[in-house]
């Protein structure tokens, strides 16, 4: 007994020591290689990123890149902060909005002389810039709006091209609703009001024009007045009325993979990131049925979708010079080399945020559409990325759910959310 116990103790203590060494070990790196720690939040493309890193390491044997991916259920902002407060600051990490840039400004490298900053599409650097200095390389372009099923629209006799105003959209929805049974659908809409980020993104359509579609203005605003709240109410009432119920417990995968992918609902509020997951269920769906419709908001009620860079790569300037240099090289390679470009479009299936890509190489029709909206100036900014920390999950989302559930009026919604916006800024 005693011997066994002592033995066990030794083994376990050994493990502890080994782990302790491990934890500090990979910072110092292996041999004379330069080690770059990358902090990734984009869970959907983890495999693709790892694959790209492997290729890069093959070409550059002096570099060792460690990717840590955090995400899924985890809160990205606090995960990154924990990274910093645990003394394991990564060399390259993803920034969500300007509030992240502000918070980590002491660490962030001015990227203006990098090739991947110079070739970024005009305007895309704004979301990662402070006082005119760019601190982040845009990861990609993502766009969202009403994703719809072309096949259902066609069978219902609705021409998507004819939808040029909110009224026309409403008419189309009602027309589809009347034929619900014939079309074999459960409901017109599959808005997943269980997901806070879906609600947050949806709100961007209506808050972007209030801030003149300007990232900086949105970030600096300490008031949210719902200038376009009436339109938001109209849209909200419309989908709430014709949505799959119970709307409050409808989650992302039920909405996208179960209902939308199986032709059970005609319209959902999502973006081009659902393409890979739809492809995994049925390749033909995206090619033949998937389309995107704009929302009509703003002074002229223009039909726009939200499109722009969702995340930015920041480089930690407090790392050794060699690490910083290699980090810059890596990001430049990723976005401007031929191999990198090829992977970004074909493997990641991203909409590129950089120039020098052939639009035709974008593999699916919806991503192309999003790209065109952006290039034709028919897009709004990702206002939701500039909201105060926690605002969308702790204030906007619960109040919005209350409105959907009939627990409070629209006026109360606007008032409470506006108050919280000021308080949390």
């Amino acid at each position: 007994m005693k011997i066994k116990l002592s033995l066990l103790s030794i083994i376990l203590l050994g493990l502890l020591v080994a782990c302790g060494l491990n934890e500090s070990g990979d910072k110092s790196g292996s041999g004379d290689k330069t080690v770059i720690d990358v902090f990734n939040i984009k869970v959907e493309t983890t495999d693709q990123l790892n694959n790209l890193v492997e290729l890069y390491e093959e070409e550059n044997e002096n570099v060792d890149i460690n990717v840590t991916t955090v995400g899924g259920g985890q809160d990205a902002a606090s995960a990154l902060q924990a990274k910093f407060s645990s003394g394991e600051e990564p060399a390259i990490f993803l920034l969500g909005g300007l509030s992240d840039v502000e918070k980590y400004q002491d660490y962030l490298l001015d990227v203006s002389d990098m090739e991947s900053a110079k070739t970024a599409i005009e305007g895309t650097l704004d979301g990662g810039s402070m006082d005119g200095t760019p601190y982040g390389i845009p990861l990609n372009i993502e766009g969202y709006g009403w994703m719809y099923n072309k096949d259902i629209f066609e069978r219902a006799g609705v021409d998507p091209a004819s939808i040029d105003s909110y009224e026309a959209f409403k008419e189309a929805v009602e027309k589809i609703n009347e034929q619900k049974e014939d079309l074999g659908i459960e409901a017109v809409f599959g808005f997943s009001a269980k997901e806070d980020w879906v609600v947050s993104q949806y709100s961007s359509h209506f808050t972007a024009p209030e801030f003149n579609n300007n990232v900086k203005e949105a970030f600096e605003a300490d008031q949210l007045n719902f200038e376009y709240g009436d339109r938001m109410k109209e849209y909200t009432d419309l989908f709430n009325k014709y949505n799959y119920q119970p709307i409050l417990s409808l989650d992302y995968s039920t909405s996208v993979e179960e209902l939308f992918a199986n032709d059970q609902v005609a319209i959902i509020h999502q973006g081009n990131w659902i393409v890979p997951s739809l492809n995994s269920l049925d390749e033909s769906f995206v090619q033949e049925k998937l389309g995107i419709l704009p929302l009509f908001v703003g002074p002229e009620n223009e039909g726009k979708i939200v499109a722009g860079p969702s995340w930015y790569w920041g480089i930690n300037k407090k790392k050794d010079d060699a690490v910083v240099e290699e980090s810059k090289k890596f990001l430049d390679w990723m976005y401007t080399s031929e191999k990198g470009k090829e992977l970004i479009v074909e493997d990641f299936k991203y909409i590129p945020s950089h120039e020098g890509y052939d639009p035709e190489s974008i593999s699916d029709p919806v991503s192309k559409e999003v790209y065109e909206y952006l290039l034709n100036d028919k897009s709004r900014i990702w206002t939701n990325n500039q909201y105060p920390d926690g605002f969308f999950s702790e204030a906007l989302f619960p109040e919005f759910q209350k409105y959907l559930d009939g627990q409070n009026s629209w006026e109360e919604f606007e008032e409470k959310v506006g108050e919280s916006f000021t308080k949390m800024r």
């Binding site: 007994m1 005693k2 066990l8 103790s9 376990l12 203590l13 493990l15 502890l16 782990c19 302790g20 934890e23 869970v43 840590t68 991916t69 955090v70 995400g71 899924g72 259920g73 985890q74 995960a79 924990a82 990274k83 407060s85 645990s86 003394g87 394991e88 989650d251 992302y252 995968s253 039920t254 993979e257 179960e258």
Partner: protein, 274 residues
């Protein structure tokens, strides 16, 4: 009289059987649906699978990175338990063998600390350990020692009261030093209390989510609850995979329970009642 007793017995057995079935029904549901295909689950959750499949399991095992995750849980739980058993029994030994003002004061301190709920110190704790770069597994083991010490010290002090001091004295006269007395004589006599301490803390450490989620930030170091949670975040309503993952996450503990049932239940009741 006889028949009456027998009817009573069978009624009780019948009730027990019904309730037991009801009680494990959620486990059954999880298991039975984990061997269905994705579309099988859409079709119906209550029935048996029409074409049972095990193919969810390799996928879930891979996604959970199970061997590594399991190993991480073993390391975190094992090391923390070892530390807590060793150090708290030592502390309790000192407290019980040297009565006096300082021992009473320290004992009282342990009692007060037991009242502090974790959430009320969570924020400064994370800041403090973050400031000294100790948000890692070593830090976690230290936190567990601090958080679990009161309970363990009480249990050990209680048990040591029944060990006569004459035993120590005899050993010291024979030339043992204090540590030898503690390690060779006292500690082996505390076996049943040690089992209680191990059981109580093992269940806690093994299943804990909140603290490790704040402390362990490295993907390769996640324990089973952490990994399960993140897995769910990614795969929610990919129920076929998620359920297989749940079954996998539960298997180690259920197997252990089958073998060590008596110790576990005795340990729990000792811990609660003493």
């Amino acid at each position: 009289m006889r028949t009456k007793e027998r009817t009573h017995k069978y009624t009780m057995m019948f009730i027990g059987a019904i309730v037991s079935l009801l009680w494990i029904y959620p486990f059954y549901l999880v298991f039975v649906n984990s061997i269905k295909t994705k579309s099988g689950i859409f079709k119906g959750t209550l029935g048996l699978p029409t074409e049972p499949t095990l193919e969810n399991y390799p996928v879930a095992l891979g996604e959970l990175d199970f061997l590594l995750t399991f190993f991480n849980s073993v390391v975190v739980t094992g090391v923390s338990i070892l530390i807590i058993v060793l150090f708290t029994s030592m502390a309790a030994y000192a407290l019980s063998r040297k009565p006096g003002k300082s021992s009473t004061a320290i004992y009282f301190l342990f009692a007060i600390c037991m009242l502090i709920p974790f959430q009320s110190i969570m924020i400064p704790l994370v800041s403090l350990f973050g400031a000294v770069e100790m948000l890692n597994r070593t830090g976690l083991a230290i936190m567990y020692l601090g958080l679990g010490s009161s309970m363990a010290v009480f249990l050990y002090v209680g048990a040591m009261k029944s060990i006569p001091k004459a035993l120590d004295e005899a050993a010291i006269i024979d030339g043992c030093n204090r540590f030898q007395v503690y390690w060779h004589i006292i500690f082996p006599m505390l076996k049943s209390t040690t089992v209680t301490v191990i059981v109580l803390n093992a269940i806690w450490f093994w299943n804990d989510y909140l603290l490790p989620s704040l402390v362990i930030n490295k993907e390769g170091m996640y324990t089973i609850p952490l990994k399960t949670f993140y897995f769910f975040g990614e795969y929610s309503t990919q129920w076929h995979l998620a359920l297989a993952a749940l079954v996998i996450a539960m298997i180690p503990i259920i197997i252990l329970y089958m073998f060590l049932q008596r110790y576990i239940i005795d340990g729990i009741s000792d811990g609660a009642v003493k």
